[in-house]
């Protein structure tokens, strides 16, 4: 250690101060509003959506509905009067999220003993005992119905999978997996532009892909009557919902 001019040991130098980044600000930027809160476009009275939202918030206060997206792997335990243990547990990947308000649903898909199984659960059904997110991730599409025509290995998930841990403030990972399909015929013509699927590795010949482009409707993105800008509605609803849930 250094000896100063006096001969006594040097004054204790504290270590450099760590840089404190306010992680709360980073966390607050990412708000997730569940898609069933956004009211659909129509001629219904907004009072109906307000009352439905009150009921949904009531249920969320008692039962925790986690944040998840299409492509995340969930495990759902429901009360079943016909099962021996009165509870049935199902693990699967979320392929679709539909419905608005209290009737919101999500479909979980898994392949059990070589049989593909899809179960449609209602988010606000009182028979659901627990929803756990085993792996939170997004995929390239909003709708993974094409997994029905993909090779079964892409829909099989271990029933006793452990939840994958992730830090709170990280962004949700997007799985850019390109899925390989079974040979044609498929249940729907997924190569057509109307489905706008980015998550399939098409191994079709170029002529077939060119023929599918005939059905493209490039004028749809410029159609002003189809626009539904939900940003302002989302802001208002997000404020309302977060205030109610904090109480």
């Amino acid at each position: 250690c250094r000896i100063s001019s006096d001969g006594k040991p040097a004054k204790f130098q504290p270590p450099p101060k760590p840089v404190i980044t306010d992680k709360r600000k980073q966390r607050e930027e990412r708000r997730f509003l569940s898609p069933e809160f956004i009211p659909p476009r129509g001629r219904t009275d907004p009072l109906k959506f307000y009352i439905e939202r009150k009921d949904m918030i009531q249920r969320r206060k008692v039962f925790d509905i986690p944040e998840f997206y299409v492509g995340s792997i969930l495990a759902v335990t429901t009360a079943d009067p016909y099962a021996s243990e009165k509870v049935s547990r199902f693990v699967g990947i979320c392929t679709q999220r539909g419905g608005k308000g209290l009737g919101a649903t999500f479909v979980l898909r898994n392949v059990i003993e070589d049989q593909g199984v899809e179960i449609c659960y209602e988010l606000y059904n009182p028979r659901i005992q627990a929803i756990e997110v085993l792996k939170l991730e997004k995929r390239l599409d909003d709708n993974l119905m094409y997994l029905r025509d993909a090779l079964p290995e892409y829909s099989t998930f271990d029933v006793n999978m452990k939840p994958v841990s992730r830090l709170d403030h990280e962004e949700i990972p997007v799985n850019k997996l390109k899925v390989r399909m079974k040979p044609k015929p498929w249940s729907k013509r997924w190569e057509r532009p109307k489905y706008n699927i980015k998550g399939i590795k098409f191994e079709l010949p170029e002529s077939k892909m060119k023929e599918a482009e005939k059905w493209r409707q490039p004028w749809l993105e410029f159609d002003m009557l189809r626009e539904y800008d939900t940003s302002k509605i989302e802001e208002k609803i997000w404020k309302e919902v977060s205030e109610e849930l904090k109480k």
């Binding site: 009275d45 109906k48 009921d55 008692v62 009360a79 009165k86 059904n125 009182p126 028979r127």
Partner: protein, 242 residues
């Protein structure tokens, strides 16, 4: 329309009906109308007074009430008469009651016989010449005429129809909303007449309803939401079969 769950886990669909500024307009006695029971005229949603003649506005002026969009009659017994001008609220009905709902059905315009009356039509192929959705034969040879009331194409919908025996699951006293089981005739936000059920199986189901009606005097302080006994309320924990 909304889903509703019972305590046993069953799901039912429910229609929300809002009671919007309902007032009693006039009392018509038995002798005046010549009917078996006295009647009460009740008016619905408020509307602008400027598009009606003076004579039509007389009823509303006497009752001291703004002009109503819809006026209906209810056949009432002598002991259930209400003074004209009193407002009516959703708390007039209680959960567990059964109710008939009348409204004008959605107008479908001029429709063919297959959509209007559910005829089967003819096959699409196997030699049918220009006949796929037609009624076919309309009468027999012996009759020599077409009977009155024969089902034929015509204007469909925009007619008053009633859904009978609908259960009331829940009442919201703050916003005056009645949750009624099942579907109800009419489009969204249309005007609807709600009446106690006349079905014989629900004659004695009304236990202590507010008689003659629910007066919002401030004497009875009802909770904001009145639920039926079997409904699963979202404040309870999840349903289990133990």
């Amino acid at each position: 329309m909304m889903p509703i769950w019972t305590k046993s886990g069953k799901r039912h669909a429910v229609t929300l009906l809002k009671v919007q500024d309902c007032h009693v307009l006039r009392y018509i006695s038995k002798e005046e109308s010549g009917a078996k029971t006295p009647k009460l005229l009740v008016g619905g949603k408020n509307a602008s007074p400027f598009s009606k003649s003076e004579s039509a506005m007389e009823i509303f002026r006497e009752a001291g009430v703004p002009r109503k969009q819809k006026v209906t009659t209810f056949n009432v017994t002598d002991d259930a008469l209400i003074k004209p001008g009193t407002p009516l609220y959703a708390a007039h009905f209680r959960p567990g009651q059964f109710v008939d709902v009348t409204a004008k059905t959605i107008g479908k315009g001029f429709q063919g016989v297959m959509k209007r009356w559910g005829f089967k039509g003819q096959p699409a192929s196997h030699g049918q010449t220009k006949t796929h959705r037609r009624p076919g034969a309309i009468s027999t040879n012996k009759a020599g005429k077409v009977y009155r009331g024969k089902k034929m194409p015509g204007k469909m919908g925009n007619v008053y129809r009633t859904s009978l025996g609908l259960k009331v699951w829940r009442i919201n006293t703050k916003h005056n909303i009645i949750y009624v089981n099942g579907s109800v005739p009419g489009h969204t936000n249309c005007l609807v007449k709600v009446r106690d059920s006349k079905l014989p199986s629900y004659k004695d189901c009304n236990k202590n309803p507010p008689f003659p009606t629910f007066f919002a005097d401030g004497d009875e302080n009802l909770p904001e939401d009145l639920y039926d006994e079997e409904i699963f309320q979202f404040t309870d924990p999840s349903v289990t079969y133990a």
